[in-house]
Subunit: 201 residues, 4 copies
Amino acid sequence: MAGGTKRLPRAVREQQMLDAAVQEFSVSGYHETSMDAIAARAEISKPMLYLYYGSKEDLFGAVLDRELGRFIEAVGAEVDFTLPARDMLRNTIGAYLKYIDTNRASWIVLYTQATSSQAFAHTVREGRERVIEMVARLLSAGTRNPDPDIDFQLIAVALVGAGEAVANQVSVGDVDVDDAAELLINLFWRGLKGKPENLPT
Amino acid sequence: MAGGTKRLPRAVREQQMLDAAVQEFSVSGYHETSMDAIAARAEISKPMLYLYYGSKEDLFGAVLDRELGRFIEAVGAEVDFTLPARDMLRNTIGAYLKYIDTNRASWIVLYTQATSSQAFAHTVREGRERVIEMVARLLSAGTRNPDPDIDFQLIAVALVGAGEAVANQVSVGDVDVDDAAELLINLFWRGLKGKPENLPT
Amino acid sequence: MAGGTKRLPRAVREQQMLDAAVQEFSVSGYHETSMDAIAARAEISKPMLYLYYGSKEDLFGAVLDRELGRFIEAVGAEVDFTLPARDMLRNTIGAYLKYIDTNRASWIVLYTQATSSQAFAHTVREGRERVIEMVARLLSAGTRNPDPDIDFQLIAVALVGAGEAVANQVSVGDVDVDDAAELLINLFWRGLKGKPENLPT
Amino acid sequence: MAGGTKRLPRAVREQQMLDAAVQEFSVSGYHETSMDAIAARAEISKPMLYLYYGSKEDLFGAVLDRELGRFIEAVGAEVDFTLPARDMLRNTIGAYLKYIDTNRASWIVLYTQATSSQAFAHTVREGRERVIEMVARLLSAGTRNPDPDIDFQLIAVALVGAGEAVANQVSVGDVDVDDAAELLINLFWRGLKGKPENLPT
DNA sequence: GATGAATGAGGATTCATTCAT
DNA sequence: CATGAATGAATCCTCATTCAT
């Protein structure tokens, strides 16, 4: 009604739909978002959604794919492996939080809503596992004398969990990005220090 | 067939229903669990569910209440505020992880599924905030010279996030409870050390 | 509204639904009959249909089953294998046409509408093949000196086709049952006479 | 890919579309065939279909018209009214079955699928009635002393039914055309013999 | 002349929820 | 007390049909 019922090229419409879907899913979650609502927000008709994405599940999958891709790209772009570890860490975490701060709906869908349906719990779990795996390798590589007793995998789980929790506060707007960055950098940096027992008591 | 249409005292019935509900919700999530499935597992009729709990939403709320209560009770029972900080921390974390290890369905409902519906995102957020608040106070209290610049609140967010992530691994069965406990104790203990900047570089 | 929203025992409701379904399907065919229409005619709600029959396809299947069963029963009841061939033939054809004359909707569904959906073309084809097979055996058995050159199978196809065509006229009300019976009896009786070549030219 | 976006003269396009439509309809039936499928098979766009035929119903009507026309033409071409009755019958039936054998999709649409929609049950019924009428007249004319008691109309119904059933076996490929022809010729010839009662008992 | 893009309208299906016994 | 029987209200999805280029 308001306008916008033009013929758009396929690629544009796709993004328009995904944008609408991200918004709706982020607010209401997978199950409580209706295709009607998405179509309405995208200012198109429902059949278009089905024409382009086949089903609600597939649409949600496409949303996850795009948002995950964007997220990875945004973070990856800021990572320079030639920098010293500490700087790289800073940059990575900075990019991570900046993405979340700037793309809140995206983050909410990826972090909170993606587990809403059985169909995606799997996908999300795998995604997280890859991140954890990566962090674990970084920890292992960044530690000077890696003690074989250290369970880097588990430390990575904890760090990623912490990172997500902080990120989530950012996405909610309760926390300043810079403060969050500083905290996470320190937390991860400690992780790189290796054996916890070395810490002062 | 075997039986089941007995007259049970109200309290027993209630628990029976909640037990069934926890199981179903933990496996399928809020939306993908039907009242039929719950009634079937509880071996009672659907009208009974409605008689006792009014609606699916209320039932889920009752589930959250009971599980949260049990959780708090289980953890609280092991906490002795008269012990030295380090011991208290150890006991608390031990109780926390033991509860999760023993009551996986309960944890899954509380941690993973409670965000499934708009109606409870709120509840969960509040619950987590209370925990974070508590941890923040513990951090603040446990630090010898609390520097007012330290954002204990945010540290608490990170620590709780880490704790949940590790707890989740436990609930999935991927991690040994004792290993998890040791890791978390160390992580939290560092949190008590105050300003991150004090750490060695 | 008009009445009839009573609690009926399962068996009664089932018949009520199937009755409504037969009527609707016979008038509009499989695709052009909506579950709404069937529910409305049965004076029940749509969910009942699904509760009892699962899907439109299954409902149609149940309709076919019941009508085919009734048909076979009605015809079979009149067949007495102890009678002389000619009498048995007369009785069978009589029962056949009487059923059709009395249960027009049933016949229409079985004969005309059952091929409406891919899903049932198969079933119908098989049903017809069984009838043809049976007729072929009767022909073979009823022929005094069965000439091996005679393709009873094909004769049966023709006779059954003729029978269905006549029956259909009956179901439409264009033809008197007795006339139709006489015609078919003669036609089949000729079939029993064996080799066509024996006929006068 | 290979081509297909040529400018073709109207007449060619029309046949191309009808060809595609016949194929699709014969395989899937009226309702289960989509305009998309027809357009795809015809290698043209859907708007073209609508431009030429207005609606699915009209398209199906055009299909029936063309196929019926071809059928009548094919059979009619072989009928020579100057021949003796028996030869004419042989030729007619031969042409009839040859057409079906050669144009199976056409026959299936005319015989099996045309009843799929309310909209055409009518058309088909009328078509069949014309054939029956014609056969009845032939029977009447071919009988030496037409007894007014004989219901040629009904005999024609039976014969046409038999003819269709046999033809259908041919279209399915289960029966040899020549065998089918012989059978039908004999069957019809008997029909010409007049009163059934004259037959031996 | 030809089509990619778009939609109105309706149908099947599924629950959470409630009577009537 | 307990439940089998029943439904209102959505939701997903599809398809014939039509613009705008």
